[in-house]
Amino acid sequence: MTDTSLIHPFQDIVCNKDGTLLYAVVKNMVQVYKFNAENSKVIKIGEWKDEFDSTILIKEKVIKEQQRQIEKNGTGIDTNTNTAVGTNTNKKLKTNNKEAKIPTPGTGAPPIYRYIRSMLLSRNEKKLIICTDSDKAAVIFNINYGNDNNVLSLFKRQPFPKRPSAITTTLDDRKLLLADKFGDVYEIDMNDEKVQSSETLEPVLGHVSMLTDIGFQKDNATDQSFVISCDRDEHIKISHYPQTFIVNKWLFGHEQFISSIVLPQWNNDLLFSGGGDDNIFSWNWKTGELLDKFNYSELISPYINEKFHLAPERFQNNENNLIEYAVSKIISFPNLPYIAFFVEATNCFFVLKVDCFTGKLTFVHKVETETNVIAMTSSVSSLVVSLDTIETPKSFLLKFYNINKNGVIEEDELKANEFDSCIKDQIKDNQVFKVENKDKDVYPLYHVSSLRKHGEH
């Protein structure tokens, strides 16, 4: 079958600021590539695979529950055995004495995934943080730049009670803030090796809705710091930090879920947000003012396709032409007043210019890609996209673009070629890239649209 030659795309990518290093995630593995500007060569300088066996966690839970039951019923038995016959309690006791059975998924059960869901490079570029599926953990690595055999060395692995959905760090990189699918935000120390029991962790703030992104910013005028969290219920909440119990404000205006927020480094009043709405929103988060909305619906319409963007059948209209799409990610450039974004399951991305004084957004570029964009990252002068190569195993996994201060964007074919040959070279022997079964072995590459609320009674 042709399936055996399929290659898994990078589900997430992150660049360092000067664009020399690229961190890329495939399934449960993170890799680090280095680009040498002098000879234009690319080498792989790091790799880590999540080998955590989640059945260990289930086993622990089952044994704990068994002990709890034995304790509970055990004390009940002592008082009962002398008086009543109590066949019921005896029966219970019997089953409890058996060795704890670890449940195994039966046929037809959804497959157990071990993916890496999100990735973040600390602001000082000394640490890499990823979130794992297997044990719902944040895994922090030290980046040892001298060690080209493997720059990644595991620093700590902190499990959380619910699945993490987004991460950020404080501006000094001392704390990691982690938002989860249950709506809570946790804070852990980035420099302390100690791992806390996930049961004793207390959230620092929360929403009653799935969190989709999180940011951190400082008000330079007052020196006050803030955590900015957004959710599936159109809410962007701004809380003081470290006094996260004081809510500063909400930014109201979205009519659909929010999937991505970005706080640019070149103007710390501004915040951009997007999600299920037809618009990219531009805010002054300090005053709470909505500065501009950029409607992208016309731009995106040629790229809409029935396979991904027709609304689910039970929410479809009579004409069967209801289209639903959503912004997957917005990024900013470290030194240039531009932002870029793409819509989930489309083969293009857009670049907008930002007026630093008014926050107004103007369209500057549309860039078409060979296949759908999966992830996007930026450095001072470049933009990198990861592409969906599932149907086209020979096409490029990554594409590189240079952007100058006038917003002119050009494809960097040399870089793309070098990366492609380096990646394809090592793919041959790397099992993680292999896709045997398209339905089972692929990370859910298009998961943003499912955040749309359709309402139920």
Binding site: S239, H240, F252, G253
Partner: protein, 233 residues
Amino acid sequence: RAHSNPFSDHQLEYPKSPNEMNWTKLYPGFVDPNDPTKLLSKVTIADIGCGYGGLLVDLAPHFPHDLILGMEIRVQVTNYVEDRIIALRSKDPNGKKYQNIGVLRGNAMKFTPNFFEKGQLTKIFFCFPDPHFKQRKHKARIVTKTLLSEYAYVLKEGGIIYTITDVLDLHEWMVKHLQEHPLFARLDAEWENEDLCVSIMRNATEEGKKVERNKGDKYIACFKRLPNPEIIL
């Protein structure tokens, strides 16, 4: 139905922001004669999970100048309270009484900030909330560490949170979380004994009356919204 899942996507109507909320339908007696889209005053008292509206009805005559809002997530119960308020209003020949109470269906745990501005409320009531006994479901409780920060946001400095329940475990939970929260301080028994709302709350609600009939216990705890502390940099 006795319960409703506060996490699910109910087909709820809620304003995009407090500015966009049209209150005129709920409080026709308070509509500004110069601008029919606006009210002369704002809602200042909220009964979260108001149930059958007993507290709203009993509070109404004592706070004639305050607008009191009941929020309830169950559709049928909300409809019942709506009809109850209409009936009470129509009984007053002068059309004055019960104009200051209203009810809407909503998920207060998710959307409180969509309805109320910062510091808008002076009193929030949590009367006989769903106890959600299972540990796994504790986040579904109306009082949690993280939600208290949102209630604190809509509550004015010096404003009061009133809680009453017949479930000791829930009472202890609410007291613990409110006491631990830096923006709330518990009010003592002496204060409780002198406060009008406490005595109304103790006797007004349908749940309260049921507990009374069953000779059960009622646990009360009230907390004052403290001023925000100095911001740490």
